[in-house]
């Protein structure tokens, strides 16, 4: 029995661990285009920031492959696959047969329209890219960050921390518009501005300037901006170039059933590449976040090894700490203005806290918390488990919420 896992991110690693736990003798192969041992992708921004060294990134010991008896196939990409013959064709010309396959290939950064072939223009998706940025930092005075999503936001924070002048271009009125609502976004924006971030709203880059190395950018509003480092953080797209769409259904991401199996039997998918049922939105959604990837990997692994485990669905959630603000957003925080949804919120300017809860009927489906976030996990669990709120909904707004106060 040969299990092949495409990707050695947290989804792939969790799957391998689950398979090995259930099946001590099978062969496990892990393919990754990165040649380093499994590491924590969300922490690469901390390496940019300088608060964590790259040596702290690995999530498992250096003996990970060895101790789990996994055959790593590193530095390789999957070029295409034959799902009938159950064979993978790698970019280096090699082939790899499989009995059961997990696609945990993650996601790739969304490119920008302007040609970006100059030096010091970076995506921020992997460790290698961040290490390259570190090399460029000593000569960086002005940085330009494209996009106010999570990646752009984290990049901007990291650079600000290092005392670099940062300009951020965002399409909507405030950063993290997909993750938080307008008030929380405003709080984030004012905190970042207070810390020296320049924000330009509603504009994008039409062309980069520079010979070999970037020196500036032309913007759609006709202005020009000087910069010696550019980080592109315009979101990610599931890495599905090798997936045969005629055999495996792909929408925004790879479509899976509640056992994380794709439409092609024996082939599973997990992590950022997957489009799964979103618990809060009650529709399929790509929730490319670390804890979902870990959970999906684990459950996919168990299903692959023959132990049927149901995956309930995914839930978007993020926790962000910037300077003096803690922000926790979970579920459908920006549900549309519709009588189906009720919203309770409390903005306490004295304590600088903000809480916004979105309900659909009796069920909590989204929450945004700014500061005093310790009990956010309780809210997450309520959304995740679709626990109807029968006690007063206002009670949930209190920062010192406890389980007992929800028991009735």
């Amino acid at each position: 029995m040969n299990y092949v896992i495409i990707g050695n991110g947290i989804a792939g690693v969790s799957a391998a661990e689950a398979i090995r736990q259930l099946d001590g003798s099978c062969g496990i192969f892990m393919i990754s285009n990165e040649s380093v041992e499994p590491y924590c992708r969300p922490m690469i921004s901390l390496v940019l920031e300088g608060t964590v060294s790259a040596s702290k990134l690995p999530i498992r010991g250096s003996s990970f492959y060895q101790s789990l008896n996994i055959t790593p196939v590193l530095g390789s990409r999957v070029a295409r696959m034959d799902v009938d013959a159950k064979i993978l064709f790698l970019s280096d010309g090699k082939t790899l047969p499989f009995d059961t396959l997990l696609i945990a290939s993650g996601a790739d950064p969304r490119p920008v329209k302007a040609p970006a072939d100059l030096a010091n223009i970076f995506f921020m998706r992997n460790q290698h890219q961040v290490l390259k940025m570190l090399e460029a930092l000593p000569r960086t005075r002005h940085a330009l960050v494209l996009g106010g999503g999570l990646v752009g936001f984290k990049a901007a924070c990291g650079l600000l921390h290092r005392g670099i002048d940062v300009t951020m271009l965002i399409r909507s009125g405030y950063p993290l518009s997909l993750q938080v609502d307008e008030i929380a976004g405003g709080m984030i924006l004012s905190e970042l501005t207070r810390r020296g971030l320049n924000v330009r709203v509603g504009t994008e880059v039409t062309a980069f300037k520079g010979i070999n190395t970037v020196t500036g950018a032309l913007l759609s509003d006709g202005s020009e901006i000087c910069c010696d480092l550019v980080i592109i953080g315009k979101g990610v797209l599931p890495a599905v170039s090798f997936v045969p769409r005629d055999r495996i259904q792909v929408d925004q991401g790879i479509v899976v059933d509640n056992h994380l199996e794709t439409t092609c039997p024996g082939i599973f998918a997990a992590g950022d590449v997957v489009e799964s049922m979103d618990i809060a939105r009650k529709t399929r959604w790509v929730n490319a976040i670390w804890p979902e990837a870990a959970t999906q990997g684990r459950i996919a692994g168990m299903n692959m090894a023959g132990r049927a485990v149901v995956y309930k669905g995914s839930l978007s959630r993020n926790v962000i700490r910037i300077f003096d603000l803690d922000i926790l957003a979970v579920g459908w925080v920006n549900a549309p203005d519709d009588p189906r949804f009720t919203v309770l919120s409390e903005h306490n300017q004295c304590l600088n806290t903000y809480r916004r809860l979105v309900f659909e009927g009796d069920s909590l489906i989204g929450a945004t918390l700014v500061n005093r976030i310790e009990t956010g996990g309780i809210l997450t669990a309520m959304i995740q488990n679709e626990i109807p709120v029968r006690a007063s909904k206002e009670k949930l707004l209190e920062p010192h919420l406890s389980l007992k106060s929800l028991m009735f």
């Binding site: 684990r298 926790v319 976030i373 310790e374 996990g377 997450t380 009670k395």
Partner: protein
């Protein structure tokens, strides 16, 4: 294996467990000196307030699988298989609060602590008082709980007791007293007081 078991129906809300926990995790392990330490030691057990102002000792369940562990980015949370204890390694913790989002019980806090590198806030949660257990002492919260809301015993024993209680309560024709009549009286009055307020507004 003995573990801390919470019996919320017996919690009188005295907060003794919080003071004892903070003291047990201080540098000096003594109440009178602990309250003068910097950073000030903080409890890892948190007394919540119920709908009727009754107490509820909220404490890490050391879940398996532990959602905090799955969510931890730097791999700072691990499980000691022998004691079934979920630990946070303060030296690996990056204070990202991902575990706050994962913990369904809201029992993880973020602050400086005697066990962490100086001046660095880290995720702090119950460690089952492993240090005390190695000295063959029961966890601090259990030691001070005089109402029996926290016990340290084998789960199977506690379950057996509960099962017996349920069985006795349905024994036909015999009225077995349950709990404390005094505490029931107090809680009845408190509930009534709060119910009056709710009804009035």
């Amino acid at each position: 294996m003995n573990q801390v078991i919470v019996h919320p129906e017996r919690c009188v809300g005295c907060m003794q467990c919080m003071a004892a926990c903070a003291t047990a995790h201080s540098r000096t392990r003594q109440l009178f000196s602990a309250i003068r330490e910097t950073p000030l030691p903080r409890s890892r057990i948190h007394l919540g307030t119920g709908l009727y102002a009754e107490g509820f000792p909220n404490r890490c369940r050391h879940c398996n699988p532990a959602p905090c562990m799955l969510a931890c980015l730097p791999g700072a949370i691990h499980r000691d298989m022998q004691t079934e204890t979920v630990y946070v390694d303060p030296d690996r913790c990056i204070n990202c609060a991902s575990c706050a989002m994962a913990c369904p019980f809201g029992v993880i806090r973020y602050h400086e602590d005697a066990s962490a590198p100086p001046k660095k806030a880290v995720a702090i949660k119950c460690d089952n008082c492993m240090e005390r257990q190695q000295q063959e002492r029961v966890p601090a919260c259990v030691e001070v709980c005089k109402s029996g809301a926290l016990t340290f015993e084998d789960n199977s024993k506690a379950l057996k007791r509960k099962t017996d209680q349920v069985a006795q309560s349905i024994s036909a024709g015999i009225d077995v007293p349950q709990g404390s009549p005094s505490f029931t009286l107090l809680n009845t009055i408190k509930r009534a007081q709060i119910a009056v307020r709710h009804a009035a507004v």
